[in-house]
Subunit: 333 residues, 2 copies
């Protein structure tokens, strides 16, 4: 029910995913009347693979997370996360209110033992293909230990999603030299150096999209990570707008635009943010994927697909096992 | 002598500025032999408006700031800042090592009474034209009071450079709602709300380049501001690279690129980072402008021009007066 467009987007995206992946089953959570109407055909076409779970409430996009948690116990978001908690669903995908989704997920699913803070991880395009980054806004004022835990969790996600053995991990900082940075980052670097992870050192903001060396996972405090993510969104929007403006000046530039259209189209596709939609909440005892609120059907499909991959790869189980191992080693020391 | 290209860039840029502004006088600080050679003609052409001040050392781009401060007492950077301190120059412009330049400027010029931390301020392009932002990396872990002081100093810069009365000031945060953010930002918001400044509230990273409302000055901690700035640089580099790649695929796309060339050229010019080169160190008792290390002559010209404007507008004096007033009011309370 969530996001800027609700079922108008989530329903067609879900049906497209059901068509593409015969192993996928979906439980559509929300207003039974609305969903039943939109899904009447699909319930026949995908018999046994799609069902509706009624939820009488919807969390508004600007509702305070604690209020939603308290007053909306039958929201689509809450019911969907309950399904994960009860083992009836392997993951929850939502385009709803991020803060409320995180608060509800924390409350219902609880943290993996040993993890102090959940984190939000997603992928961003880069000149090397793409890179994963966390935390994108679940936390502010992360300690060195938190940053270290983000790296441990993030590594499991990258290994599972990318199918690479030892992801290259960088720590976001304001310079590449040892002396640079704030206290948390400097202390986190020490933890990462001694961790056995494939830690490659500090990376700067420009390394997210266009660094000089490939980095598979960038670790940052959620305040910093969120600002970086949004700054990149703003830059892309401004640059795209100026490019469009340049081709809209007069009939001559419009003609040039028409001739260059296939090239411009391919360029646009190569940085299409819809292909990067979907952020995973990790550190919880269940998988929750957050789609951008403004996602269209194609973008929401990407978020569902991310859930399929992470479920198939057992990301949550792998994080739990890794953490259990790390905790056992700590006790042994 | 500094930057990636040294006098090969700084000298032609300086001569271009002397040509454009008849009121400008320049003291070129560095190796007398090197500069004398490059400037032999200019010393005649701009007789009385350009001179050479010898400095026997150069701070390397990767030299530790404290080492440079201790061991390079006759560096071009140090001698140039000394000239400002002695009142022989109105400003120092350098493309050298940022950390060393800041450490030297702090040591030689000292802080304006009442200012606890210097800050780095610069302009970035936006869909509304451009916006100023500070701090871009002079500080990490800024307190609420520091952020407030950045706003007070930044306002004077924006007023002077843009010639507007009440710049619209935003505080960089990870959401626009009151409850969002870290403790420092929330406390800084309270200070700004009660300050008499034209404070418009929280802005997110995307507002730097492409916000929904115009903001003239964005205030952030130096760690966050630097990451945002570099993230935008990386995004622009990646997008520019992908656009170029799209037009380089085959003879057909190359032909399209040729036809669209004037449009693409105008687009490129509209986001040319060289037109935004130059960051001011503020909070010090003298003006120091830092050019990007990789600046070419056009970019370095922009940095010199920024110094001209800030000197003509008496930015440092205005910040001092404003701070003195603020301090007097505090004592009065």
């Amino acid at each position: 029910m969530g996001g800027d467009f609700g079922p108008q987007v989530t329903v067609p995206a879900s049906l497209a995913c059901l068509r593409k992946n015969p192993d996928l089953n979906l439980i559509m959570v929300g207003d039974e009347a609305v969903l039943g109407n939109l899904l009447s055909q699909a319930l026949v076409e995908f018999k046994g693979r799609i069902s509706i779970q009624h939820a009488s409430q919807v969390v508004e996009m600007d509702e305070a997370p604690q209020k939603a948690l308290k007053n909306k116990k039958d929201s689509s978001m809450r019911v969907a996360i309950n399904l994960v908690q009860e083992g009836k669903a392997d993951a929850c995908v939502s385009a709803g209110n991020t803060g409320a989704l995180m608060a509800t997920a924390r409350f219902v699913l609880k943290m993996i033992p040993g993890i102090e803070r959940p984190a939000i991880i997603s992928t961003l395009p880069s000149t090397f293909g793409h890179t994963h980054m966390l935390d994108l806004g679940a936390n502010v004022d992360s300690s060195a230990e938190h940053l270290y835990q983000f790296a441990v969790m993030g590594e499991e996600v990258v290994k599972a999603v990318e199918k690479i053995e030892r992801p290259r991990i960088g720590l976001l900082n304001i310079g590449e030299e040892d002396m640079k940075g704030n206290e948390q980052v400097k202390a986190a670097a020490k933890l990462l150096e001694n961790s056995g992870l494939n830690y490659i050192g500090y990376v700067e903001g420009n390394s997210i999209n266009a660094g000089s060396v490939k980095v598979d996972l960038i670790v940052a405090d959620g305040f910093v990570g969120n600002v970086a993510l949004k700054s990149i969104e703003g830059a892309a929007k401004m640059i795209g707008g100026k490019l469009k403006d340049s081709f809209s000046q007069n009939w001559l530039t419009k003609l040039a635009g028409l001739i260059a259209y296939p090239v411009l189209k391919r360029f646009k596709d190569s940085i299409d943010p819809r292909l990067y939609n979907g952020a995973s909440f990790i550190g919880l005892r269940g998988l929750v994927i957050k789609s951008h609120g403004g996602a269209d059907a194609l973008a929401f499909e990407t978020a569902i697909h991310l859930a399929e991959v992470e479920v198939a790869q057992g990301v949550i189980r792998k994080i739990s096992e890794k953490l259990e191992l790390a905790l056992t080693q700590k006790v042994d020391e």
